[in-house]
Symmetry: C2
């Protein structure tokens, strides 16, 4: 891997997401050699990915070059690589570009989509965990309408214009809201030959309310907002099958739809070598103690979505979101600095800064620690917080310009199919 030998201990961080970057920033200037490994050369601001999927933002504006994060950090190395296995006993990792020894290893690999073993869903549903996936959803949405203008069979046309979103968490809710805005503002002008009232957005949730991670008030307000926008919400409903055409559920409810977006489950993105049963928790996450250490390995840590720090107050670990990831990354950085100075590490304590979701134009729900907001002020809070946490001045400026333009013009101009998704449309002709 061609990393020079150093007199300082080597920390290898796998993953440049929220957790990995927060950690790296804490280690600047320490007597350490830091190697950051990621399979992409950019940090990806996942909370805005649904806007890439729906033509509101360009992918580059939510991506930030990882090498730029490490500018002017001495003894920091970035490598673009896939980690294949970890050997915790020999303290080394094996990647597609070679082997690397470590003194400390931090696993910050995040999460990936969980289809719960349903291979049909895995094959035909769209997921949205990476930027290429978000772009595929964008292409598919647009291609569906291009296909819909070609048929006069109304049933097929309606199936092309039906979007089934599975999962009522923030991702599903935000996607449904964005699609509803497109239906209102853009489609009637872009497709004057289609009856756009027939576009249906179906949001399917297995539990009895959407946004189950938020307050009851937020859930009910979000439902109200979505229904005002024409989204149909199906609660207590589980999707069991999808063949690219028909969505089946546990009951006799079925949908004919060219699009199913799966936002109903994530799991830890585990690495071979650390996937032994004693290390893993529910949802493929690595069990860690309150110092983010793996059971039995003093020098191996996990932070962010992949880490499950179970406690009495939080038996399934923290939510797989940006906030716990950033806080764990920062905290582990401080702990490693203590470790270097032979001081005892401090236990991690999560500071809940709140949860929020946007539904559409002027509509969001925000649960902060001390107060809850819904509506237009929540929407401004949502935008401000997202701009604030987005990395890089240019990205902020570009996102801001896009938002202002989209708001004033009721528009989303990134509705371009750069690389087609090429769905098999034979059943929709």
């Amino acid at each position: 891997m061609n990393i020079p030998q150093s007199n300082f201990p080597r920390v290898v961080i796998i993953g440049g997401g929220f957790a990995g970057i927060a950690l790296a920033k804490q280690l600047r200037g320490e007597e350490l050699q830091v190697v950051l490994i990621d399979k992409h050369n950019y940090h990806n601001f996942q909370p805005l990915m649904y806007q890439v999927s729906t033509g509101g933002l360009e992918p580059d504006s939510i991506a930030y070059p990882l090498r730029k994060v490490l500018h002017r950090y001495n003894n920091f190395f970035f490598r673009l690589a896939h980690v294949e296995t970890v050997d915790p006993e020999k303290q080394c990792i094996h990647t597609n570009i070679g082997k690397l020894d470590f003194d400390y290893l931090v696993v910050a690999t995040g999460s990936c989509t969980n289809f719960f073993g349903n291979t049909n869903l895995e094959k035909h549903a769209m997921s949205m965990k990476t930027i290429p996936e978000a772009l595929q959803i964008r292409s598919l949405i647009l291609e569906n309408f291009e296909q819909a203008v070609l048929t006069n069979d109304l049933q097929k046309r309606n199936a092309l214009m039906r979007f089934v979103i599975v999962g009522g968490g923030p991702t599903g809710v935000e996607l449904a809201g964005a699609l509803a805005e497109i239906k209102k503002g853009i489609l009637p002008k872009d497709y004057p030959d289609l009856d756009i009232r027939k576009v249906e957005i179906e949001l399917i949730q297995s539990g009895d309310r959407i946004l189950p991670g938020m307050s009851e008030k937020a859930s009910s307000k979000a439902e109200e907002f979505l229904e005002d926008l024409g989204v149909r919400i199906w609660k207590n409903t589980r999707v069991t099958d999808y063949d690219g055409h028909t969505v089946k559920t546990k009951t006799d409810l079925e949908f004919e739809a060219a699009t199913l977006i799966w936002a109903a489950g994530v799991q830890g993105a585990c690495i071979q070598g650390l996937d032994a049963e004693n290390l893993m928790m529910r949802g493929n996450r690595l069990a860690v103690n309150k110092y983010n250490q793996l059971e039995g390995y003093d020098s191996i840590f996990a932070i962010g979505d992949i880490a499950c720090m179970a406690s009495d107050s939080c038996p399934r670990g923290h939510a797989m979101m940006a906030q716990p990831a950033m806080q764990q990354g920062k905290h582990l950085g401080k702990n490693l600095r203590l470790l270097l100075r032979n001081k005892p590490m401090k236990p991690f304590q999560y500071k809940d800064k709140g949860v929020m979701a946007t539904i559409g134009r002027n509509k969001a729900v925000v649960d902060l620690k001390n107060f809850k907001l819904q509506g237009i002020i929540a929407w401004y809070v949502w935008m401000f917080i997202h701009l604030y946490f987005l990395i890089g001045f240019r990205n902020r400026a570009i996102v801001f310009i896009n938002w202002v333009y989209n708001y004033i013009r009721f528009d989303r101009e990134a509705r371009v199919i750069i690389r087609p998704y090429q769905k098999d449309y034979s059943e929709f002709r």
Copy 2:
């Protein structure tokens, strides 16, 4: 293709580039049915593509949704399709989404890369005629450096950091300049473990000066600017072969390079059915008369790069550039309106508005009709003109923000590998 019958004559335009859009705009409000067909759903602002390749701009900011161009135009239809053949006798076209009859056909298919039959070059060289191709170049440039940090074999490392650009026209010159700026401003910070002085940009031109379509003064100034930036210019040199590793020329000059960008030739993007020998000119272009009509077909026209309007003053037709395309599109629109009113058409006359190329920060060459400029004022003129012709307020704003940011910060933040190019690096390890 599901286009409704209409009482008005049907004009089919193939291609939504500069020519096709300029034509469509002229036909608004006429007693015509207009069908615009393109294989992409966006108009692509080709003059800024090299900035996408070099991480200065996001692809979406130079793409504009074609359906949006046609908003509020009555009796206009857009279809996303590949035209397979034209049947000029039966007055119909065959596409991947079905057949369509026409009363008037306008071929505005533009141009594609010409490798002059060299299959090795076609296989291993990068071309830059579409946005996906521009993104592939961006990925390859970045992947080369990620590969270069992995080897200590200096010869291999230098080959990974050598960029051979073939063709000294505006595309080649602008790409070489942009790469030289990246070498200066970004690479030393992104890759502190590489000796960036070893990055070589080789610009190869078959003729005895670069920018042969411009004045002698512009050529010599552009050469001076490029050489100041460290670009090596090889004149009177022809590339004959490239296997992905070694670039061969007509002489014994050779380069070891992981990247060869081919900007040395374009040809008309002809369609089957119109490729009969009597219709074609040198460079695969369709011969047209001064009304842009095809020889022998009163109702078939060609405009833009694909059209070759040879005359005594211009025996090989107009340059394959945006200006002649826009002017021909607009002029043909006016002629079709005359035709509808049974009035005689007017011959096309090209108004040469000048040619320009940018070389790098504060450096451009501009040949206008009455005066010629080089240097910083030319650079401002170049930027102003390009922003002016870019379609869409949002695109202009985003490009402007990027330029200001890149200028102030000596930066280009779109250096992200969204979809890897995945070159075979086995000879570079």
